[in-house]
């Protein structure tokens, strides 16, 4: 298995010129992170934290001011870096005049899918995202949820190794969101790497292996979901399949020795809000 990281970002800074002024706005500030292959990586942060800019740099849509970004071992500024990448943008806008099938064919051709395989791939993907009956309808008439689904299908059309999904469940109902979450887990099983940006923190917590939380362009925290949600100074002990008497005895023993018995972990949502509030206080 190739050990090069799926995405390697080193000392990345991006400044944007503010129109009508000599001032510059720093969107990403000295960001370094590595996303390992065959993992699901969550990129979190409030609006304006630099997530989208980081993604755009990784996709070669924006050039970094300082630092470097490599995608599957190739500098992101080189179009070859996108050969094995699928991207679902936030609030996806697609060519409204195309039908679902035409859209997938268009993106399939641009993703170098062989002509003899493209039709089969389109049918497979429409089936996988549950749009087999809407494939001949124009994308302009799709609902928000359907747009997300066709967006996922177009991201997958080239069978890429790396998927960048920006808010894949925005506008999707809870059942659809759960289906997308299970699709993401299936993709990992198929050996793919997923970079996931989402505000649905419970979903991120349930599917991601590692998470980075950004604020004002900086990396505030990074690590595995378990490590991040573990409260400092606390250690957790899971006691399953024991009688309530034994459970009570263990609790009493802990209390007898000055221990505090409580649920030791916090949710990712609590952690996110805590960090976001700290950022506001600063």
């Amino acid at each position: 298995m190739d050990m090069t990281p799926a995405i390697a970002i080193r000392g990345l800074t991006k400044d944007f010129r503010v129109s009508g002024s000599s001032k510059r706005l720093r969107a990403v500030d000295n960001l370094s992170l590595e996303i390992h292959r065959n993992s699901i990586y969550g990129l979190l942060g409030p609006n304006g934290s630099g997530k989208s800019t980081t993604i755009k740099i990784a996709l070669g849509l924006v050039e970094p001011s300082v630092g470097e970004c490599e995608v599957l071992g190739i500098p992101s500024t080189n179009p070859a870096a996108r050969t094995n990448v699928g991207y679902l943008p936030e609030a996806p806008y697609f060519q409204r005049f195309l039908t679902g099938r035409e859209l997938l064919k268009y993106f399939g051709c641009l993703s170098n899918v062989p002509k003899e395989k493209i039709q089969k791939r389109i049918e497979y993907l429409l089936n996988r995202v549950g749009l087999e009956d809407a494939g001949n309808r124009r994308v302009g008439g799709y609902s928000k949820g359907m747009l997300q689904r066709i967006g996922l299908a177009q991201a997958l059309v080239g069978n890429p190794d790396l998927l960048v999904l920006d808010e894949p469940t925005a506008g999707v109902d809870p059942v659809g969101a759960a289906e997308i979450a299970s699709l993401i887990l299936e993709l990992k099983k198929e050996g793919k790497t997923v970079l996931l940006c989402s505000h649905l923190l419970s979903q991120v917590e349930s599917v991601c292996d590692r998470v980075a939380i950004m604020g004002r362009g900086r990396l505030l925290m990074e690590g595995s979901v378990d490590t991040l949600t573990q409260e400092e100074g606390c250690s957790s002990m899971r006691i399953d399949q024991v009688s309530s008497e034994l459970r009570g005895s263990v609790e009493q023993l802990a209390k007898k020795h000055g221990g505090l018995v409580s649920s030791p972990s916090r949710s990712l949502e609590e952690l996110f809000l805590e960090l976001a509030n700290k950022k506001d206080e600063r």
């Binding site: 755009k56 060519q95 005049f97 051709c109 993703s111 170098n112 960048v164």
Partner: protein, 277 residues
Amino acid sequence: MLSWSISRVVTIGLNTFREAVRMKLFIAMTILAMCTLASSFLFREFNFGSSELKFIADFGFGGMTVFGSALAVIVTAQLFYGEIEHRTALTLLAKPIHRSEFVLGKFFGSWATVTCFLGMLSVCLVFVLWFRETSILEEYPDEFEGGRRIVQYGEIVWFSVVQVFRIGILCSVVILFSTYATSSLFAMVMGVLVWIVGQLQHIAIEARGVVDNLILKSVYAFASFALPNFHLFDVGEKLALGESLPSSVYLKLFVYAFLYSSFYLAVASASFNRREL
């Protein structure tokens, strides 16, 4: 390194063409232009005789030039800048494609659209002329030497070909402005300005030889080289008079259009490469 691919340019071009022909604007413009050409049937009320045919040809050539140029400016700006405005370019450029492939694909798609439009107008003009010529031939046979038809239909096709060259330059100019525009309106306005200046460019060429002021001379020199001389493509007057142009004229116009379009597209690709989306 990702190799440059003509098949990706063709894919983007075909999709651009498909988008254009599904646009209500294209359909409306085509119907309007055809109705305008068909309205030349009304000229029969004036009883011009054979000179009516020249009038219809002039009218048709004028319509093709004006409608073709207007469509080139509007459609190209919509098709290129629309991708940025509607953010569809994000998904597209996140695929393994070079930005120059995108620029060229959009150019060929827009150009093919206007070429198709001019083709339909040519067919319409040929039909109108043939229909009227047949009627006039019956009404005023004395005006036709030996009863031979006087309209040179092949020249109408050549006129359309020359307009296709002109439109190529105009589409590339609009693409160039679209690469750094912040609204499609800007690209359209600049396209119209270049079209007008290009039509009057021969004045700048003449003025360059007359003025003594060095600054003005430089401005005129810049205008006469950097901007295309669209007046060169106004061959309708000669063709309508039944005059045939030597093939070297068509070849020169093709080379002229090719060089200017290539130059504008090269600058457009460089400009779009630097654009942050």
